[in-house]
């Protein structure tokens, strides 16, 4: 059961046609996800070959369905790809229409190999491979169609187009697409393509962790494409040119949606719903919109005016943001239904600092400030008196942000203590390196156990040295205190930054909305639905502290679900999510043959000189200039992967 009839994938062939010995193979053996079996899929064709589970499948028809999709994506910038793929598609159509000639087979072969050898991008060089395979292994089927001279019915194939970078991006941005638009200096269109998936391009262009770049296939040659900085370039270009985006006029609809929290998740959801015509109101507890982007990320990484501009454009799309309005204090959540809101999206983030478990941390000592509160005060411009020596506890981005902010505020001796080693430190490597360059000292394998104070003021911490034991549930090695290693670290200020959790005290009835063990809101990950009717949730309050692009992506998904919920009264899993699940597991990076890529190193940007970084919060990283952006955009290999499959009957 589930064995393939024929497969040629990634250069491996399994042929169970005919009477010979069966070479048993399952989807998993071919490197395809286990979801691909005969019960779900009759046949599949993609950039590296094809697989047939049902012997009745017409492989020529599949090749045609596939090449039609390839043709839609083929950019037209190289003639071999552009004209060649057009002829492939026309020829396959002709054969299916019963008008094929025998010499069409050699024509297909000649063209497909020619395109594979000499197209201008990775997409062009890989796309013809399954056509070549189909002729090699299913020539009889081609001949049969040509000889019968009868048109055969075409089946309806499902389609997915993605790329390694796109798949790695939580928002699945069309990265090769917007990079190519930059290459052709069509910045406005590039940015509008970005805004399809990311409503905060200026912000994301600065602070995204860029999982896309990790997946970039160019890494195996001379270095990844700097995707994040390219996005930043177009966002900055628009701002510096004084342009406003030509976004489509939102449709008008009377339905109202309430969003709790104006952070990245809430903003993304609101923007998408507004474009769909809903009246969206965001209720925000703080005096500024932006959530963590406003009060968590310091300005030297994300200047306020960048965030403000991105938010302004969201408001222009028709979103109302009510600041200083806390649900559960100024308004009751239950009251929202009475006010006519048809759905609620909870996106309150995770702003409450976790406890360290150190003795004395609840004693309200002067000089003991939670990391999140510290960053909020810094970002809101509240006066913070610089102290001589500060201890920041933790190893994440918040800890590093606190430490680097301290330096900018005039703290002299800034220290991070982290209970594991450098390898396990979750903060971004580049951030850690910059922090060290600026003078932050990091002590590894140390944990404070007791806060020391005199006259109610912090004077230091009793610490213990740690050793690493077996890996814990996070996969990182568990730190274990070393007995007798206690020592004292002096400090006038201690900033714990060891993780955050959502403050869910506003929820009216905890039984209505199920919570997960980590005190986050439980949702269906693809639809963002909570256990409460008409209530959706996303962002950090669901995942715990995560990165901005995750929050944005969940806001996008929630908007889709909320739209379905209001129109149809129920949420069906979106087609996109289904495809996403189906494609997970295929290694998109692999292909039979490697390209030859001339060595062109990634463009580099300048940084604010070290000595200018103190006493201010000026942005550290500079963006690309026009030339650098153009050069960098040229480095994209365009690894689009087209896949088609026929669902099993």
């Amino acid at each position: 059961m589930g064995k393939v009839v024929f497969s040629s994938w990634a250069g491996k062939t399994v042929d169970n046609r005919g009477l010979g010995v069966k070479q048993h193979a399952y989807a998993e053996d071919l490197g395809l996800p286990s979801g691909y079996d005969h019960t779900k899929v009759a046949a599949f064709m993609g950039w590296d070959g094809f697989v047939v589970w049902d012997e009745k499948v017409n492989v020529v028809d599949m090749a045609h369905a596939y090449i039609k999709e390839v043709q839609k994506v083929c950019c037209g910038e190289c003639m071999v790809g552009y004209i060649g793929i057009t002829v492939l598609a026309d020829t396959l159509a002709r054969i299916l229409d019963g008008k094929g000639r025998e010499k069409d087979i050699s024509l297909l072969q000649w063209l497909a190999s020619g395109i594979k050898e000499n197209a201008g991008c990775t997409f062009g060089q890989t796309a013809p491979i399954p056509i070549i395979d189909s002729i090699k292994y299913y020539r009889d089927e081609y001949l049969k169609l040509i000889k019968n001279k009868k048109a055969v019915p075409k089946s309806n194939y499902k389609v997915m187009v993605t790329a390694p970078c796109m798949e790695a991006c939580p928002a699945h941005l069309d990265i090769p697409g917007y990079i190519q638009l930059i290459r052709n200096q069509r910045y406005r269109e590039s940015l509008s393509l970005i805004r399809n998936g990311v409503c905060l391009p200026g912000v994301i262009g600065r602070v995204c962790t860029a999982p896309c770049e990790e997946a970039c296939r160019r890494t195996q040659y001379d270095g990844r494409v700097c995707i994040r900085l390219l996005k930043r370039y177009v966002a900055d270009w628009e701002m510096n040119s004084g342009l406003t985006p030509s976004s489509a006029k939102p449709r008008k609809s009377k339905e109202k949606v309430a969003i709790i929290g104006a952070g990245p998740a809430g903003l993304a959801c609101s923007y998408n719903l507004a474009l769909k015509g809903y009246q969206v109101t965001i209720f925000e507890e703080l005096s500024v919109a932006g959530g963590m982007a406003a009060v968590g990320i310091p300005q030297y990484r994300l200047p306020r005016k960048i965030l403000e501009r991105d938010i302004e454009l969201i408001e222009k799309a028709g979103v109302e943001i009510r600041l200083n309005t806390k649900i559960g204090r100024d308004l009751e959540m239950e009251g929202l239904w009475k006010d006519g809101y048809k759905a609620i999206f909870i996106a309150i983030g995770a702003h409450k600092g976790r406890k360290m478990g150190a003795e004395g941390e609840d004693n309200d000592y002067e000089g003991f400030v939670d990391g999140m509160k510290f960053l909020r005060d810094v970002n809101l411009g509240r006066v913070i008196e610089p102290k001589n020596r500060v201890l920041v506890v933790g190893g994440g981005d918040v800890a590093v942000d606190c430490a680097r902010s301290c330096l900018r505020l005039g703290f002299r001796d800034v220290n991070i203590v982290y209970r594991r080693s450098r390898v396990e430190m979750p903060a971004r490597k580049a951030e850690i390196e910059e922090a060290e360059k600026e003078g932050v000292k990091i002590s590894y394998l140390v944990t404070p156990t007791k806060i020391l104070a005199r006259d109610g003021k912090v004077i230091g911490a009793e610490c213990v040295k740690m050793a690493l034991g077996e890996p814990d549930s996070s996969g990182r090695r568990r730190p274990i205190p070393i007995k007798g290693s206690e020592f004292v670290m002096k400090a006038a200020m201690i900033i714990p930054a060891i993780g955050q959790q959502p403050d869910l005290s506003f929820l009216p009835d905890r039984n209505q909305i199920k919570l997960a063990k980590q005190m986050t809101i439980e949702t269906d990950t693809t639809t963002c639905q909570t256990s409460g009717e008409g209530i959706f949730a996303g962002g950090d309050c669901v995942t715990g502290p995560a990165v901005l692009i995750d929050a944005l992506a969940s806001g996008n998904r929630a908007a889709q679900s909320i739209d379905q919920y209001i129109r149809k009264g129920k949420v069906t899993q979106g087609e996109d999510s289904k495809l996403e699940i189906a494609v997970k597991g295929i290694n998109l990076s692999e292909q039979r043959e490697q390209e030859i890529v001339p060595r062109e190193m990634p463009q580099i940007t300048s940084q604010l000189p070290l000595k200018k970084r103190f006493g201010n919060f000026r942005e550290v990283e500079n963006g690309f200039n026009a030339e650098a952006a153009l050069e960098e955009a040229k480095r994209c290999l365009r690894c689009y992967r087209v896949m088609v499959w026929l669902p099993a009957k």
Partner: protein
Amino acid sequence: MVELTIDNQRVRVKKGTTILEAADKFNITIPTLCHHENLTPLGSCRLCTVEVIVNGISKLTTACTFPVEQGIEVRTTSQKALEARRLAAELLLAKCPTSAKIKSLAQEIGVAKPRIKVREEDCILCELCVRTCREIVGRQALKFINRGLNQRVEPRIDFSPDMCIGCGSCAYVCPTGAIKMEDKDGTRVVYARNWEKEFKLKKCKVCGNYWAPEEQLEYIRGKLNLPPDFFDVCPNCR
């Protein structure tokens, strides 16, 4: 300096030189169509395809876009390279069978008649016009509209009339005659199959001849910060 082999010759060229430039230096001719030495290489026509052997692996690449690397071997007339060129020429000829330039290039490469049929067009999307307008003239009147996952269009060259100054550089550089220019009775028309723009020509105050589009002169005057009456007289009479 980088050392490499081209057609069995060991040669040394400056780092950053393209294969096409390196070959040219040693009098090895490679056919080109979309290449112009003053413009950024694009690699669109694929006629300059050569075989490159890097670390023992043989691949094809366009000579105009590939910067030489230490130790590579380039074969400009290998069977593999010639076949790829013939395929490219055949496709171009099918697309644009009436262009004299393409016909003669195809003949040189060894293709007389294409065995395939596609919709014929006079533009082969080589973007020489786009690059000339942007890189030489300093305008962006022409843009390449590419297709893609989210751009379901026919690839084409788009014209923005506001940006065009009527200099006609695109018409000069176009290899297939898809862009044309005509001067008549004090006006100039620059046009292609699906766009055109008319320009008033400036009349010389001395000889009375029409000598250049007013918009172009205005553009140059602004760029060079020249006095308002600078172009009232043509260069011949100045």
